[in-house]
């Protein structure tokens, strides 16, 4: 999985958990919470969906890695690739 594909996976999850948000111009280097109406429960939803849909575990101490699309891709892409 490429980093761009990984970003799309995260965006697809956000589209489900925050269906009112416009996601076409999310800036990858800006914190998601600065540009989208996401709260802490929504981040827990992202973690849950990664677990349910993709078998990816994000320990609580590493939630900070999910701050932006870029950081998600940096952190999650190796995890996705390790699954294969």
């Amino acid at each position: 999985m490429s980093k761009d594909e990984c970003k799309q996976v995260v965006l697809d999850i956000i589209a489900e958990i925050a269906p009112d948000e416009e996601l076409s111009d999310v800036k990858p280097d800006v914190a998601l919470r600065e540009q989208l109406d996401l709260d802490s429960m929504d981040f827990l939803d992202i973690v849950m969906e990664l677990r349910k849909k993709h078998g990816i575990e994000v320990p609580e101490s590493e939630y900070g890695e999910l701050v932006s699309l870029d950081s998600c891709a940096e952190y999650l892409t190796p995890k996705f690739n390790a699954l294969v």
């Binding site: 849950m48 677990r51 349910k52």
Partner: protein, 411 residues
Amino acid sequence: MEVSRVVITGVGLTAPNGNSLSEYRDNLLNGIAGISRTEIRYMGEVLAGICDFDPLRYQKRKEVRVGTRAGSVSIYCAHEALKSSGADFESMDKDRIGIYVGITEHGNVETENEIHNISQFDFDTKFWTHHHNPRTVANNPAGEASLNLKVTGPAYTIGAACAAGNLGLIHAVQMLQLGEVDFAIAGGVSESIHTFGIFAGFKSQGALAEHEDPNKASRPFDAARNGIVVSEGGALFTLERLDDALARGSKIYGEIVGYHVNSDATDYVLPNPERQTQCMRAALKKARMAPQDIHIVNTHATATPMGDIQECQAIAQVFEDCPDTYVNNTKGFIGHSMGAAGALELAGNLPSFEDGMVHPSINVDDLDPKCSIPNLVLNQPTQAKRVDAILNNSFGMLGINSALIVRRFSV
């Protein structure tokens, strides 16, 4: 003790046969029921009263996803009630608004859903949602309405089995009279059709209705009745002290002049007509009214074999010499909407103050002789000489009884 008079100034509802008071009332007068077949987990096909209001009228999609069905019902009904009240909600002091929502039960739907969810993951509880607790706390349906409306006054539910719709209103009257709030949004809601447990429970109890025609399945007082049709829905009213309502020139749907709540203390599920009689009489006493002053008695009767007979016995005793008192039932149209029942059934009768019509109990092809009491309005609406007062019965499991009396408003 003299207390403030409290009046109903707005009505918001969703029922299986209508999403506004006018649509619902038209269907009650025209014999149009709203029961259909639906699939439910583990049970297969069941009969249910399903509401088709649009939650997105008043909620964001994310609110619908995170919240509960009962929350959506509350929010829809609260907004509709506020609209019908004509109150200037934006300028109201939100600290002084109370939201009091009657519920039969809450949390079963969400708990069942989560158990089903983790069953897909070998019952590993790390897949259990973090939304579970806010969805299942008992105040959820009222709390979601407070979040949505930004109401900062007291917002909570009243758990009172199937008497809960009346209890929501009664509690609101008390809080207005105590001066705890200046404006109340109150009634009852139910999301019960989304839990298999309630269907399975009634089935095990031998009290779940079945009929080849869904709209004929709920048939209180009919000799062939065979149980309850479970429904969802809600009705919330806006209530104000009379002086406040008059000061803003509000339409007044009726005045709550009396009520009573008591307990059978005899059985988990079987009703007790002696206590029901006592409850109605105590409500009349509080209202300083005689039985003859009541022109509509809306029954709780759910179409169980014994329950209908016992309520009819109780009504016959209280209203034994009342030629102008009509008796009806709403569940033939909408099934049993649990926590919403009392509130929806009151809403369906309130327009009688304006049109003098008494909606019928439908699906009574063969009246059970044991339910044959005077002035039971069957299958066709009746034009009453006049309708000045309604007594609304709502009873529930564990032996809770409630009777609420609403009178046509006059100064």
